[in-house]
Symmetry: C2
Subunit: 359 residues, 2 copies
DNA sequence: ATGAAAGCGCTAACAG
DNA sequence: CTGTTAGCGCTTTCAT
């Protein structure tokens, strides 16, 4: 079953002359620790000690084992290793799906992980399409305890903390609590967005929100209302609608809003995806952005610069948030005392999807 | 040790009225299969059968076990499960680091995985910074056999195929071989890029390549030379330099190129990162793009639209490549007969980093 | 300095 | 229909 180094040539003789076959034969299947042990003439326990740099192995043995490891291309199985040792030096990033928001965080986490000695494992439950709430709980249960030493969870709705397992939530939907969190100033950002539209002369401003159960969505709506109130402009409740934060779900909402005879002159979308969706719908209805409709988004995902016209939006420093989350997680695992809530500022990014209303 | 469902209320009574506290107490630590078995009054084998939907369990037992599973929030450990069963319904995407190129692929793979029943696990070796070749071999050895049923490997240099384990390489550095691959037409894309510069009247055109050992890099350089030759323009070899495909590594090369008295009027960078780096260097040297220097890239990562001026580049359909790679992998695992090499077309994307030379 | 043996959480024969 | 048993690949006492 297991491959002796010694029978490589026998088997190769039976193969064809394709290089790939030779490679295949040299490593016909996964080589495990007992393969190494056998080839080196030692026990698996000794191999394990060598692999993990434990004391109590003769110099000569160490070298012989390492040589065999190198020759066979042995690498410890993450699954088996973690099952037994409960320490893997792998950190998890748990997402519902890999969309622009989470991949920006991922980039930031990836740069921050360099030099920490940890590796990164991003896991998508696949339940992206709004289906299946509780993905974060399932993913966490599946990976924690084994496989990963800690996790960053992206936009979780509910998080249970397990004893002895560290979790950092990015943009959690429940708002800061006992759980370590990283988010941006959603309220201030929404005020920024709304004030921008107001300063351009807009008064009939619509808002396409995320979902009422999401904290970030609630804060953005609250910021919108605050800015409107501060400007003394009444909010037309018929122009405030739930859009769900996704391209498809926001399209219907945008359609209803824009089909009105008294449609808004400007829309503050709860996130860039909703804003992009709104622009798509507007185009299909024969409206021109920004001439017939101004649109502002939230997030500043790279895609917002790629659409036509480029989207004016509120920047969240996503990569930085990912990096901060990872650093916070590493610190928590190391047992450092530090502030477990990080809130980063937002910023207005003016591109070309809003215009000033003529007097 | 193990959590009785029954003590939830007792503990909650001591807590505050925050829902999160109740949850914390309900699942103080990882619940495993024996916890479930004990709570349900059956053996772990029976629980396993219920979890995996095996035949031969009484209706009533199934329901009782499922109830306990639900109450305890049990989820099978991926590590343990895969160690034993060698089938996890998880597909891996192995990358050196999470940068714009690989995250675009990830987005595509993420959309393609929906509905397949698989989940996605993206693993970064962390050896991003050009260090440590062979990351793909190590990552693969670490995850294959356990944890994942197949893998998409992003820009691998060397890949060994293991028996019975399916791997798809995206943009492999060795060119199509026996291994299933997905890439884009690098040669044609490079011709497109070069012709664009030629059509704008440029003759002194520099090229910042990737690394000679990378197939995609070689093809782009070859396409550049072909287009120049076809146009009857001699290539000045002093203007063709290795840049390494990364921001930092390309900066030095760009600096040397632009410091020349007879510096090029246009640069075809081997990828967008090199192009962006070249624009940075040009700015630092007091040169204006595109007035003093035209720059064209390759890839069309979202970032290329965000820089100033927006980068003219060659689009590879990255998300589509990721999606195709994932579909190919799924098909291979299913044992389908199909073409194992997929090559997608490239396209010129004109933005604002190139200008026509005055006559 | 080395190895035998137990066990991490799970699945798969096999017995009952 | 259910439980007992063995073992996946690894780490870790504990003997030798």
């Amino acid at each position: 079953m297991s491959i002796g180094v010694d029978n490589v040539f026998d088997s190769a003789a039976e193969g064809r002359d394709l290089p790939s076959i030779i490679i295949n034969v040299a490593f016909p299947q996964r080589v495990n620790m007992s393969d190494v042990a056998r080839a080196a003439g030692v026990s698996v326990a000794t191999v394990s000690k060598v692999v993990n740099g434990r004391y109590g192995v003769a110099r000569a043995t160490i070298e012989r084992v390492q040589q065999v490891i190198h020759q066979l291309g042995y690498e410890a199985s993450l699954g088996a290793q973690s099952l037994r040792s409960h320490r893997t030096n792998v950190l998890g990033i748990l997402v519902a799906e890999f969309e622009p928001f989470s991949t920006e965080l991922l980039k930031g986490a990836s740069t921050a992980v360099a030099g920490t000695g940890y590796q990164l494992l991003a896991y998508s439950s696949g339940d992206g399409a709004g289906t299946a709430v509780g993905w974060e709980r399932r993913s966490l249960a599946r990976l924690s305890g084994t496989l990963i030493d800690g996790a960053v969870i992206v936009t979780p709705t509910v998080v249970e903390t397990k004893q002895g397992f560290h979790v950092v939530a990015v943009d959690p939907h429940t708002g800061p609590s006992g759980l370590p969190t990283v988010d941006s100033d959603n309220f201030a950002g929404a005020v920024l967005a709304t004030n921008h539209l107001l300063s351009l002369g807009h008064r009939r401003i619509g808002h396409i929100s995320g979902r009422p159960d999401l904290e970030s969505s609630r804060l953005r709506e609250a910021g919108f209302r605050q800015a409107m109130a501060d400007a003394g402009v009444a909010v037309d409740e018929r122009l405030v609608r739930v859009g769900g934060f996704r391209i498809e779900s926001a399209a219907g909402t945008a359609g209803e809003l824009l089909a009105r005879a008294d449609r808004p002159t400007a829309v503050f979308a709860g996130n860039d995806l909703s804003a992009i969706s709104t622009m798509n719908v507007a185009r299909e209805m024969g409206l021109t952005v920004p001439d017939d409709l101004s649109v502002i988004g939230f997030d500043n995902i790279p895609e917002s610069a790629l659409v036509n016209p480029p989207l004016t939006t509120i920047m969240q420093p996503l990569q930085q948030m990912g990096a901060e989350a990872l650093r916070l997680l590493v610190d928590l695992i190391a047992g450092a005392e530090r502030d477990i809530h990080i809130r980063l500022p937002t910023e207005l990014v003016i591109r070309a999807s809003c215009r000033a209303l003529p007097d």
